[in-house]
Symmetry: C2
Subunit: 138 residues, 2 copies
């Protein structure tokens, strides 16, 4: 059982979130050790509840139309150290331990690897692991 | 002129952003010094362009239905040190210098001041300045 929830969880904390019209809330994952912003994704109510219950980040994939547990294919699980809600209740921040040190599906440490320089987005972070070796060739 | 843009800016970098159906993209502001995630807000295309052109964070307020320059009322301007785009092009990260050390309209350093503890959101950050003294009583 996660220390983030009592043994018989009331759901009032889930009602405090201002869900969008399509039932989602933006969620930001930040690395607990480096402070780096790893990624921004989306959660539905069940993904947020599961994240708190299991201590592992779950998100809602808008492109695939289903919930996913971060790392379910790659092994790059996010162990949640803290969950935070913002002043307006419409954004969630996860402070996580990023297993494997890679959060991006491109094999980079994090997803925000393009920096605006002289009016162009420039890749400024190295690929740490070939995505084909993370996910296989299929 | 901001160093983030050339003197005669091409707009291809704005086209690289995957705008939502309502023309917005989530934007995360992170403090350049502390690494703290300050807030999550939204930008329309013009807000993102102005942010790059002026070096000060501009957002789109969904509740007020208008663009706003962060700090226009409070003086708590965000000076943008870096702008980043994520792998999917659907989230923006601003690394900022937060003038006044307060980014939240509640007078706290940042907006993510509620932490999930034992199934409840608990305020864990101090109010640094009374919002009435920031915005006036009106």
């Amino acid at each position: 059982m996660s220390p983030l929830l009592p043994s018989d969880p009331p759901m009032a904390w889930l009602d405090a979130v201002k869900w969008s019209a399509d039932g989602l809330v933006p969620a930001i994952a930040q690395d607990a050790a480096s402070g780096r912003v790893l990624m921004q994704a989306w959660m539905d109510r069940d993904a947020l509840a599961r994240t708190a219950a299991t201590g592992e980040a779950h998100y809602w994939s808008r492109s695939r139309g289903r919930q996913w547990r971060k790392g379910e294919s790659s092994g790059h699980v996010q162990k949640v150290r803290e969950m935070r809600l913002d002043c307006d209740g419409d954004a969630v921040l996860l402070v996580v331990e990023q297993v494997g040190g890679i959060s991006c599906h491109t094999g980079r440490e994090h997803c925000f690897f393009r920096r605006l320089e002289d009016g162009r987005w420039v890749d400024v972070e190295p690929v740490l692991k070939d995505p084909r070796t993370i996910y296989g060739d299929d």
